[in-house]
Amino acid sequence: MTQVKQKGPEVTLTPPEDAGNGLKTQEMVINMGPQHPSTHGVLRMELTLDGEIVTKAVPHIGYLHRCFEKHCEAMNDYTKVIPYVDRMDYVAAMNNELGYAIAMERLMGIQVNDRVEYIRVIMAELQRIASHLLALGTFGLDIGAFTPFLYCFIEREKVLDIFEKASGARLLYNYIWIGGLMNDVPADFKSDTAAFVTSFRPKIKELNDLLSYNKIFVERTANVGVLPEKVAINYGISGPSLRGSGVKWDLRRDDPYSIYDRFEFDVIVGKGEVGTLGDCWDRYIVRVWEMEESLKIIEQALDQMPGEGDVQESVPKKIRPPAGEIYCRTETPRGELGYYIISDKSTTPFRIKARAPSFVNLSVLPAISVGSMVADMVAIIGSIDIVLGEVDR
């Protein structure tokens, strides 16, 4: 048996310096994670510290790698990929399914009927609210505000109840299928959703009172982890993290898919209200107000939704797309989720690559965390809102 010598990560430390009082100081390397409550999963950060100031941060990923691409190639059917895309970004499963379904429908030239489109949009926006609630709640929790986390979870629970009634699952739905939906929504879906919308509006204000403008919270997040607009674009950041830096870029508006061109909503951008433009607080507040925009979309969609229509009308009997390739991108709560699908005219996918927003957003972490305090790392990681399931896939 040959032994493989594993090389440890290379670390260069500055030689000890004389601090002037006979004591010597030296840089120190510590690991944050993978078992750390605020790395949102299994992320390991290798931090080089000069006292309490971070001089270098290197994220190490891969602890949750589940061979998504290889799995897809091993599936003998395109349909079987849907439960797997659920498990990429497991707190926003509906959005992942929607992206995949739209990509496949474009590849196969399927046109779905209006009822399906409206249900999909409502589901996707509800999921965006649920996902943002989780992001905001855990962000507060990371920084030390425990109570808003519980209130956020109560609201998220109500969304999950709506999902459960429609799809039969609370987290991983397998609801949006290629060419349609798994089944029609229940009869009281409209009234349930409308009731949620009305009950949720005041909660956003409550969240702002409790957390957003809380002095301690603002102290911890304003001017921390500033991501300038140009850096964000250079790194390919997308989603609320990009908009937090003041870039008005939302695929729902700039590259409308599904029926998003029928709705009126604003694209929220950060303004540097309490600190510098692009700091953690800006990324946070973009998510808060985006929930309001999602509510607007849901209300409009509920009004326009046709009452009749077979949701399985255009579900193909056999999924055998023509040979070719497609890249299709959608806006998930975390940013641009793109699927690159190559078909070789068989029922088995030749290749499915997912461009995961969390993965790309994480790559900016080393650039924005240099110079911050070690305690602020928690805030920075929380504010770019990564889901490790999607980073590693």
């Binding site: 039969g168 089944n183 304003a222 700091d279 110079g371 911050s372």
Partner: protein, 228 residues
Amino acid sequence: MSDNLEIPRTNAKVSDPARERSLNFLERIYLPEIFRGMWYTLKQMFQPKFTMLYPEERFEPPAIFRGRPVLVEDEGQERCVACGLCARACPPLAISMQASENSDDPKERYPNFFEINMLRCIYCGYCEEVCPEEAIVMSKDYDLVFESREEAVYDKSKLLVRKEELKDRLEYLREYKNRQFGQFWNFDEENNIHSVRNRDKRWETSLSLVEMIEEQRKQDKQTELMRD
């Protein structure tokens, strides 16, 4: 092009205290802020409780809930005809089975063994979706416990559940699912036994399948009686 993008604009060393919001007197003594926070908590105390005291108080899932997949037991035997579709449709390859034949039974085929590895199952519901016999359905069980990996492989003894206990789900399926079958034939329980079609010599007669089976049984009984 003069900005060096790699250098962060603001950090702990250079943050600008002049931009910080100054607190007014009430905010500085903190007490009103604390009471405001407490007020929310107090209000929440009188809201309906959102949590459940789980093991004592159990969550009763609706019929649409996708819990552990089970085999339907109909009159003492499984409905499954061992066609293998569910094993083929299962994305994580959780189902393994072996078909066997029994010519004494109108159903003819049955699974010799049928196992679902509950560590692999992802509760997607595809097995139920493809099953032509409504023989595998998603139940309401959601808390599965095992102590070893071997225990997690459920065999027929653990999978079989009587159809009376699955009434909710079966009714739900009739009403909302399996529409694609309805296009070609009426999805009735008596249609569940396809293979009779080939055995019946008098297929041309306009008897329903159930009538055919009854006819068959009557004939069998008569021959038995005559032998006696």
